[in-house]
């Protein structure tokens, strides 16, 4: 049961990095991919139908953590509280920008929302760099500091940006597409860059997770038996529903969406 709980946690966190990494990365590059209001709206439309379904993977990660490893969750989250404040603040600012962009008045309002999306996306990516640095240096219960943090945060952020770029080159059309394509380059098949960053980005949290004493700190057997069973039953359904969403909106975007 402990093993299955660890697998569920790994699934959720990898799911978030690979899927949400696309919209975090695209959001980080928003000012460069789209010049002007209409182009930026197109960039947002490239991930609009997915970002809501993407971000729930991180909520699910927190859920599995608190359900299957409750005591560890408390120590980990309270230890990393300052970094998590930054992560959550970035997340909130970014989502508020995305949701509000099309609802307010005028080009200035939309430019401000675009800025919120970009700043928020960078904050999320950099915060994850700090979290991963703390885990990888074997000190999961205190925020990373010193040279490791200075190196890791921008490196992880760059990886997110590269992932977003690969995604953009597959989803966009028109001038934003040309910009993404120039940066990605033309080596290999069009989907190769995204696949490469997906493997790197998905593997990173798994590697970092080995620093946590997950198996020893799992919830009590009675809880775990019920909870892991329930989660293991619904997870394939969740994956199927999300796969359907990706299939339904698979084409390149040529026009704006609700956002």
């Amino acid at each position: 049961m402990e093993t299955l709980a660890v697998v569920l946690l790994a699934c959720c966190v990898t799911g978030w990095f690979v899927l949400a990494g696309t919209d975090i990365g695209s959001g980080m590059l928003l000012p460069w991919l789209g010049r002007g209001d209409a182009e930026r709206r197109l960039v947002l439309a490239s991930f609009a139908p997915f970002f809501l379904g993407n971000e729930v993977w991180l909520v699910a990660t927190a859920g599995v953590l608190v359900g299957c490893f409750p005591a560890l969750e408390g120590e980990l989250l309270s230890g990393q509280a300052p970094v998590l404040v930054a992560l959550l603040a970035g997340w909130i600012v970014r989502d508020a920008g995305l949701w509000s962009r099309g609802r307010g008045p005028g080009p200035r309002w939309r430019a401000a929302c675009d800025a919120a999306v970009t700043v928020g996306s960078w904050a999320v990516a950099l915060s994850w760099g700090l979290l991963l640095a703390a885990l990888l240096t074997g000190r999961p219960y205190e925020p990373a500091a010193g040279p490791v943090a200075v190196v890791a945060a921008p490196a992880v952020a760059a990886l997110f940006a590269a992932h977003g770029l690969g995604f953009a080159s597959l989803r966009l059309t028109g001038a934003p597409y040309q910009r993404a394509r120039r940066l990605v380059g033309r080596a290999g098949r069009p989907w190769h860059p995204l696949a490469l960053t997906a493997v790197l980005l998905g593997g990173l949290p798994l590697w970092a997770g080995t620093a946590l004493p997950l198996a020893e700190r799992a919830a009590s057997a009675g809880t775990l038996a019920l909870l892991v069973l329930a989660l293991a039953v619904v997870t394939p359904l969740l994956v199927a529903v999300q796969a359907w969403v990706w299939y339904a909106f698979r084409g390149r975007v040529t026009g704006p969406s609700y956002l």
Binding site: A38, A48, P49, L52, G53, E55, V56, V59, A60, A62, G63, V64, L65, V66, G67, C68, P70, A71, E73, G74, E75, L77, S78, A81, P82, L84, V85, L88, A89, W91, I92, V93, D95, A96, W99, S100, G102, R103, G104, P105, L170, T173, G174, A175, Y177, P190, A219, S220, G222, L227, A230, L231, V234, V241, A248, F249, R252, P256, S257, Y258
Partner: protein, 440 residues
């Protein structure tokens, strides 16, 4: 640990962190719930409206779905982002809670995120972005999935909260709580009664908002008289039965309180002799300590709830009669003003009721098992202050943003809201040169 003895750490630094952490939880939970309440209620109404529009295929029914649906989505988005803070806050600021009671509390939170919220969010995306892409019936199905999983979400959150207020189905093993009777936890009366109460309160909130916004347009005599005549009637006729259900489920909870949490009951009633008796009884059970919650918050919360309820009762009673007359709905401008002014009442009632429920059970975070002061994380006051400042500021901005965007949309009326606009035909899409292959 729980069950007696003075608090483990009683120094000033700890007290600071405790107070700040409580303030943060109170502000963020109350803030989050304002959005959730409307989301739950308005979502239900939108799903019903869309069911009708799908059946009749009339454009005017479709307009109702898009106008009220747009308000729903604006509000929903803020509900989601405020909920993120709630999800992480337990571990960040209240690690003692997950440490001691995580085997039960953590499980219900985990099921909520995966079984309910995950599905809800995914389908909300499908509903918003799937307009004109999915078939009519598939699109209708997505909103119903969103609404039903939102109810499921509310249930699992109340299972968690019910356990905090009235722990059942647990045992103790090596100093932590373990789950012994899942069925008892899932059918906890302290979870089921509030579920009915909250769903009724949510419909009440949505009903008052619909009636208030409709009244604004009728008062201003905008061109959409027919549209908002329907909106006003829907709002009033949803609010009245919802108020009744909220009152009944609330009354039943009051009745249960005498046995679940006699101290809250005694403090609210201001019965000094009873307070002293329960204090003595709890002291003999749990050791010396102050078991009396803040009188101001407990009585204040309860009173705000009851006064708002009283006002809403008069409004609903009058509304049910007035709304039956077409001319009254269109022309009775004083009533329109009253309806606009009463939009905040359900919010006041719910916040008051929640303060009564949660402040009144102090000093416990898990009633009779874990004190609030023993559950707070070992954070530095600086970290806690930073966290409180950041989240309080963001929540305030979000509340202002939400209010402004909703008011803006409400004022503009049902002419072509962004939600459900057919963007394929939109003139503002840029011409797209150099389209690459559409397949990867």
């Amino acid at each position: 640990m729980w069950g007696g003895g003075p608090p483990a750490h009683a120094d000033g630094v700890h007290q600071d962190v405790l107070d700040l952490a409580r303030l943060q939880f109170g502000l963020t939970a109350a803030g989050h719930f304002l959005f959730v309440a409307l989301t739950l209620g308005l979502g239900t109404i939108v799903a019903v409206l869309q069911t009708r529009a799908t059946l009749t295929r009339r454009p005017e029914d479709d307009r109702q779905v898009r106008f009220w649906g747009q308000l729903y989505v604006i509000n929903y988005a803020v509900g989601i982002v405020t909920g993120l803070v709630m999800e992480f806050q337990f571990g960040m600021a209240w690690s003692g809670l997950t440490h001691e009671a995580g085997n039960i509390l953590g499980a219900s939170l985990a099921v909520e995120t995966l079984v309910a919220f995950f599905v809800e969010s995914t389908f909300l995306g499908l509903w918003i972005f799937g307009w004109h892409r999915l078939g009519r019936w598939a699109h209708l199905a997505t909103i119903w999935v969103v609404v039903l999983t939102a109810y499921l979400s509310a249930y699992w959150i109340l299972v968690s909260n019910g356990f905090l207020n009235h722990p059942v189905g647990y045992g103790s093993e090596d100093g932590t709580l373990v789950l012994t009777d899942p069925a008892a936890v899932l059918t906890n009366p302290a979870a089921l009664l509030p579920l009915v109460h909250i769903l009724a309160g949510a419909l009440l909130t949505a009903g008052f908002l619909m009636a208030g916004i409709s009244a604004y347009h009728l008062f201003r005599r905008t061109a959409e008289a027919d549209f908002f005549r329907r909106g006003l009637r829907t709002g009033v006729y949803v609010a009245a039965p919802a108020l009744l259900a909220a009152a009944v489920s609330g009354g039943l909870q009051f009745a249960a309180l005498a046995s679940f949490q006699p101290m809250k009951s005694a403090v609210f009633g201001g019965r000094a002799a009873e307070v002293a008796r329960v204090q003595a009884e709890l002291t003999s059970r749990f050791g010396p300590g102050d078991y009396i919650p803040s009188e101001g918050w407990t009585q204040g919360g309860g009173l705000v709830m009851l006064i708002s309820f009283g006002l809403m009762m008069y409004l609903c009673f009058a509304g049910v009669i007035l709304a039956a007359f077409r001319k009254v709905v269109l022309r009775f401008r004083l009533w329109h003003l009253v309806l606009m002014a009463s939009v905040p009442l359900p919010y006041l009632a719910m916040t008051g009721g929640w303060v009564f429920r949660e402040a009144g059970r102090q000093p416990w975070v898990v009633y009779g098992l874990l004190r609030t002061e023993d559950a707070v994380s070992d954070l530095s006051p600086g970290t806690m202050r930073l966290s409180l400042t950041v989240f309080a500021t963001l929540f305030l901005l979000l509340a202002v943003l939400n209010g402004w965007l909703m008011a803006r949309h409400a004022r503009r009326g049902p002419d072509d809201p962004g939600l459900g606009r057919d963007e394929r035909a939109a003139g503002d899409s840029p011409p797209v040169p150099a389209t690459p292959l559409s397949r990867y």
